[in-house]
Amino acid sequence: MHSIKVRYFAGLREQLGRGEEQVDAAGIRCVADVWSRVCAQPLPANTLIAINQEYASPASMVRAGDEVAFFPPVTGG
């Protein structure tokens, strides 16, 4: 597997107009690289990140086969 699955939730999903996509892992080292591949705008402030369903940060390393998710602050409960 040479791609990374990228998922978006809630308001961010609506802004981007898609819930998930696959990106080519070539040239991608960290979460920030994933974001610049999928969106021309900077990562919105307060955006939370997960890799393989664990919280992560823009500097976290990403590998082919990983699932990377971007989402706004949570509002549950």
């Binding site: 369903q53 989402f71 549950g76």
Partner: protein
């Protein structure tokens, strides 16, 4: 320790009675304290009428996070059991959204763990609320504790 994230509505009082009967009957006499929090949908928020709400979640990660905080609560306090039920999908005002129940020998641990679980759930668990208001749909802003 039980976690359920479900689309179907639920009656928290019936759930509590059934759970206690099924899972805690062997511990009758052991738990001196049961602390319960139930969150229900208001028909107003931030000065606007709310006619309904849709809760989005991240299947898998949401459950995983709730399991992690439940385990953390059991590590921090002496608890006999915890029960956490959370809705997702469309909800109407008055409907329960979340149930947190904690059984312990003593009330201090029960109150503290229940408070810890609902606070973690509000700030870190992966749910997003979208309200229906007279001005249309709006995503609810994050909670500040």
């Amino acid at each position: 320790m039980t976690i359920r994230v479900q689309k179907d509505g639920f009656d928290p009082w019936r759930e509590l009675a059934a759970y206690q009967e099924a899972r805690l009957s062997d511990w009758a006499g052991q738990y001196g304290a049961t602390a319960v929090f139930i969150g229900s949908l208001r028909d107003f928020n931030q000065g606007q009428a709310v006619s309904g709400m849709t809760l989005e979640h991240y299947p898998g990660m949401t459950e995983g996070y709730l399991e992690k905080v439940s385990a953390e609560a059991r590590a921090r306090w002496e608890l006999l059991d915890t029960l956490l039920i959370h809705r997702y999908g469309p909800l109407l005002p008055g409907e329960p959204i979340v149930l947190v129940a904690v059984w312990s020998a003593h009330r201090d641990a029960a109150f503290a763990a229940c408070r810890y679980l609902i606070d973690e759930l509000k700030t870190r668990a992966l749910f997003w609320k979208q309200e229906s208001t007279p001005d249309g749909l709006r995503w609810v802003e994050e909670k500040k504790l």
